[in-house]
């Protein structure tokens, strides 16, 4: 292990932490009704710290020049880092530049950086290069595209195969919204209040997919969970099993906001063959009438209920539809920002400030840690600016921890004092394979489309679609044997490493012939897979590996003497194989297939 990069971890002093920990326990037993329901409580302990005491655990290493001085830390960062001391964990050092770039590129754009970009960033002496990098990534097309995919999965779940076009339309709409920096609360309102004809589906896809087969209940449950972090659908069949405050009636009163909504997808004209390629059209109407009943135990429809927002009356404004009232109530709720920041934090760091991200228990619940409250406040104050939120998270001390040394059973990662190692999502893995091998680097649109199609085909094998009303978002892809088989024997990795013009191996081999020799070639392969340079030990291991194939620059004497008698083409072929195999091994490794 290279000293300086990953050595020198700092153990924090305990002390003030004890009070914080007790406070945390007390809150848990008050608020979490679930059996030993555990909440990530980073930041709750902040108030237990003597006023003015500097947050501890600002572990510094040579690799972390761009972290803000303590004085400049936001209240959110202070709350979070204070919890490190309280938890008494070892704080991992600041992540070094190469790993930071890889991590933030995966989180903001869904793919690893190119070798050239990584090298340029590492070598950039500027103090503010991390800020500039984050800004550049947030301004890129890839950012809008990737987050549109992330949001489409959230909003639609794993859409059915028959709804591929609806999903594509939703991705298009989201991409436009995200690229233009549309405030999150306005986006949510659009999704909920969509009315009229929507060619291509666009934002109306949410109402169609979540409320399909006229299931007002499913749409209501999804809306409360996704936008408010409240799993009120548990109260559909009976009074809520865990939230005392929600009765069955509250669920149906929430559902009543959608009671007059009519969503239709235009039937295709089967006689007209031209119609096949046409985008789907979704029509949403708000009817004058339509009521929601609380079903009675004997099966009769039961009493009609008026809409209410999580047990609270919200008066409808003049001329407002029920969905418009709901959208207004949601925008007025602090849960909107809390659920959003908790979800985005969870997407970026592997776990939410409250776990799971979509179970915030109840409005104004005391179990919300201070850190969640502060981050939500700053998100709301920014005008629900997602770029600003992502920027704040990316540059926070918590996000910039190293992942090294995860041997404490996850204690440090739980309070975000160490980065959590996470498997790449299918989208990230395929995008990264394409980037690292150079398969995705073509300017020719046809070639890119081919790569994209191959990616989609491979994805489709592993993503399960569920025919349930709740539409689970799970994909059965990350970290299992079929994935390992795909990496070992699949087309993408094997074709990807094969030497070809424009590919990574060809570029590395050209470097091997040049001034830098084999070491430069090895460095290029490391940069493309890991976004960092190899250390001396890694370089010598790789050199040994490559030379064993024979035919190399050094392969003229001793053991390799035999091969040197072979003709030049044989040498070349052996060398190509050597670099292909090294590239392959790197792409199969944990360091490549995880975000860390």
């Amino acid at each position: 292990m290279p000293e300086g990069l990953f050595g020198g971890r700092h153990r924090l002093r305990r002390g003030v932490g004890a009070v914080g920990a007790l406070a945390v326990l007390a809150m848990c037993s008050n608020a979490c009704r679930r059996e030993s329901g555990e909440t990530t409580v980073a930041g709750v302990a902040a108030e237990a710290r003597p006023p003015g005491a500097p947050p501890e655990g600002q572990a510094r290493t040579s690799a972390g020049p761009t972290e803000a001085p303590e004085a400049e830390l936001s209240p959110f960062d202070r709350a979070l880092t204070a919890a490190w001391g309280a938890a008494g964990v070892e704080v991992a050092p600041t992540v070094d530049d190469g790993e930071f770039y890889r991590r933030i590129a995966l989180d903001l754009t869904g793919s690893v950086p190119s070798a050239e970009d990584a090298a340029r960033f590492i070598d950039d002496p500027a103090q503010d290069k991390r800020e500039r990098l984050v800004d550049a990534l947030l301004a890129s097309d890839d950012y809008a595209r990737y987050w549109a995919e992330v949001y489409a999965s959230l909003l639609l779940g794993q859409a059915l195969p028959t709804q591929k076009k609806i999903r594509a339309g939703m991705v298009d709409w989201l991409e436009g919204q995200i690229a233009s920096g549309r405030p999150y609360d306005e986006m949510v309102a659009d999704l909920l209040t969509a009315t009229g004809d929507f060619s291509g589906g666009q934002e109306a896809g949410y109402l169609l997919v979540r409320g399909r087969q006229k299931q007002v209940e499913a749409l209501a449950g999804a809306t409360a969970r996704i936008f408010l972090g409240v799993q009120i659908e548990c109260a559909q069949c009976h009074d809520h099993p865990y939230y005392d405050q929600y009765k069955q009636e509250d669920f149906f009163r929430f559902a009543a906001y959608f009671g007059r909504t009519q969503v239709r997808q235009a039937k295709k004209d089967k006689k007209n063959k031209k119609d096949k390629g046409e985008p789907p059209v979704i029509t949403v109407k708000e009817r004058r009438r339509g009521e929601v009943h609380v079903p009675l135990a004997d099966g009769s429809p039961g009493v009609v209920v008026e809409p209410a927002f999580l047990g609270r009356e919200v008066e409808a404004a003049e001329g407002e539809t029920r969905r418009e009232t709901l959208a207004r109530a949601i925008r007025g709720s602090d849960l909107l920002a809390k659920a959003a920041v908790n979800r985005i934090w969870s997407t970026m760091l592997g776990r939410g400030l409250v776990e799971p991200w979509d179970d915030l228990v109840g409005e104004n619940d005391a179990s919300h840690p201070e850190s969640l409250r502060l981050l939500a406040e700053s998100f709301a104050t920014s005008g629900y600016d997602q770029r600003a939120l992502l920027r704040q998270i990316a540059l926070s001390p918590a996000y910039q921890r190293s992942a090294a040394g995860a041997d404490d059973q996850g204690a440090a990662a739980r309070v975000f004092a160490r980065a959590q190692v996470r498997p790449l999502s299918a989208y990230q893995l395929f995008g990264s394979l394409a980037a690292a091998t150079g398969l995705g680097e073509s300017d020719r649109p046809n070639y890119r489309r081919m790569v994209e199609e191959r990616r989609e085909r491979a994805l489709a094998q592993y993503v399960f679609t569920f025919v349930d009303d709740e539409m689970a978002e799970a994909e059965s892809f990350a970290g299992n044997v079929p994935q390992a088989l795909l990496l070992l024997n699949g087309e993408l990795s094997n074709a990807g490493v094969r030497e070809r013009a424009g590919g990574t191996v060809a570029a590395a081999r050209a470097l091997a012939e040049g001034e830098g020799g084999e070491a430069a070639a090895i460095e290029a392969l490391y940069l493309s897979a890991y976004g960092r340079r190899p250390d001396a030990e890694e370089t010598s291991a790789a050199l040994e590996f490559i030379r064993a194939y024979g035919g190399g620059v050094q392969g003229k004497q001793g053991k390799q003497g035999k091969q040197s008698k072979q003709g030049k083409p044989a040498k070349k072929a052996a060398q190509a194989k050597a670099y292909e195999d090294l590239h392959y091994a790197l792409l199969l490794s944990s360091e490549f297939v995880t975000n860390h």
Binding site: M1, F6, R34, E35, S36, E38, T40, Q213, G221, C234, Q236, C237, H238, P241, A297, D298, G299, P301, E355, P356, A403, A404, G405, A406, Q409, G410, R414, V421, R422, P423, Y462, F464, F466, V467, D468, E470, A474, S476, G479, N480, V481, P482, Q483, A484, L485, L488, N489, G490, E491, N494, A495, R498, D581, Y584, A585, L588, S589, S590, E591, T594
Partner: protein
């Protein structure tokens, strides 16, 4: 944590490849749990979406809540099941039916989590599924210890990715990506893998943690599978038609056949999903069709296991997300009803030919012997040779027992 799995010493070469790989090393004694288990293997037939208990195992003929179906006699005097389970009705002497399984989880995801792990979902810790627990308690073989057919199954949580289900989406298709890619021979693969192992060793020392060890283990498992003779278990075509046909031509039926073949090849836990039970509308037409699939698949499985002398050592469990409402909604459907569900068990250690638990005339309430999910899991754990009180550390540093509370279902075993 990851010491020397014998797969680390893998030798390749398509001839002796698998044999060299998979011969159990003498250094590894058979896990004690597996040795004492009544059920060496377990097959779960998972009714994905939540099957209507009233239209399958607990019919209420003549009541409004009973719906359209008739009830038929079974091999067990006085016990009736739905008319659409005629084959299973004849085999009731092998089967124990639970009619009073109860939980509080009415959301699919949460309920499935509970039914796979015995725990309700809780923030901060991911509980291992029963399949992953069983897989981790047995010596590793060429095939994964937990195979999930036609459904996603559930993950291994704190046990690590190496015990996650091996998902086979289509039981009749070939397992994908088992053959070496174009231009790659054994020697090249060996060389690639040797370099990969060096990289993993280094990264494990530098970063480590469960995700890293898990990835290493699943790649080793994939390597062990490639070229192993046990892969023949996936070739359903090698079964004679007379064996294949009774299972039914459906993915579920053929999945049941695959389950039997996998168990024969040493896989200790197989789950086969039958999807489509979320019958919020048009319940009766859909349940009739699904029942036919279940009836054929499960009956053929029980017969086939018995004919091969495997039923005594193979536990078969049929269960789903939750039950469905006795009341029939305006769309002719039944909604989620976690309060009452039914399950059926047979084989490995189960005393067949009985019904445990009773619901009232309309199926609205349990009137006798409510069985909570932890009760079921405590009973299952004993049968498959798991210690229900064994404690594992969660990533949160909290000790977790195999089963949380519950008591063994009296008389079931």
């Amino acid at each position: 944590m990851y010491s020397h799995n014998r797969r680390t010493f893998v030798r390749f070469g398509l001839g002796g490849l698998a044999a060299a790989l998979m011969r159990p090393s003498s250094a590894l004694a058979t896990a004690p749990a597996a040795a004492s288990a009544k059920a060496k293997a377990c097959i779960v037939l998972f009714m994905h979406g939540g099957a209507s208990q009233l239209d399958t195992w607990d019919p209420k003929p003549g009541r409004d809540t009973g719906g359209e179906f008739r009830a038929i006699r079974t091999a067990l005097p006085g016990v009736r099941v739905s008319e659409h389970l005629p084959l299973l009705a004849k085999r009731m002497r092998k089967i124990a039916v639970l009619r009073s399984l109860t939980s509080r989880e009415g959301n699919h995801e949460r309920a499935r989590y509970l039914m796979h792990s015995g725990y309700p979902p809780q923030g901060g810790v991911v509980h291992p599924s029963l399949g992953s627990l069983v897989a981790s308690s047995r010596d590793p073989g060429a095939l994964p210890g937990y195979v999930s057919v036609a459904g996603p199954g559930q993950g291994a949580g704190i046990l690590g990715a190496q015990y996650a289900p091996f998902v086979v989406a289509d039981p009749t298709g070939p397992v994908k990506n088992l053959k070496l890619a174009r231009g790659v021979d054994d020697e090249r693969l060996r060389s690639r893998v040797a370099m990969w192992r060096r990289l993993e060793g280094r990264y494990s020392a530098r970063v480590g943690g469960p995700e890293v060890e898990g990835h290493r283990a699943i790649v080793e498992q994939a390597l062990a599978m490639m070229g192993s003779p046990e892969l023949g278990a996936f070739e359903l075509d090698s079964e004679p038609d007379a064996v294949r046909r009774p299972y039914g031509p459906t993915p579920f039926g053929q999945g049941c056949l695959l389950a039997r073949r996998l168990v024969e090849s040493g896989v200790p836990f197989v789950e086969v999903s039958l999807k489509g039970w979320d019958t919020h509308e048009n319940n009766f037409e859909r349940v009739k069709k699904l029942s036919a699939e279940l009836d054929a698949g499960m009956s053929a499985l029980l017969d086939d296991l018995e004919g091969r002398g495997l039923l005594e050592s193979t536990l078969v469990l049929c269960v789903g997300d939750f039950g469905r409402t006795p009341t029939i909604n305006a769309r002719g459907g039944r909604d989620h009803f976690p309060k009452i569900a039914a399950a059926a068990l047979a084989g490995g250690g189960i005393r067949g030919g009985q019904v445990i638990g009773e619901t009232d005339a309309d199926g609205m309430e349990i009137v006798e012997r409510p069985i909570a999910v932890p009760d079921l899991f405590r009973t299952l754990a004993g049968l498959v040779g798991l210690d229900p009180e064994e404690t594992r550390m969660s990533a949160a540093g909290r000790p977790l027992t195999t089963v949380d509370g519950g008591s063994i279902i009296d008389g079931l075993t």
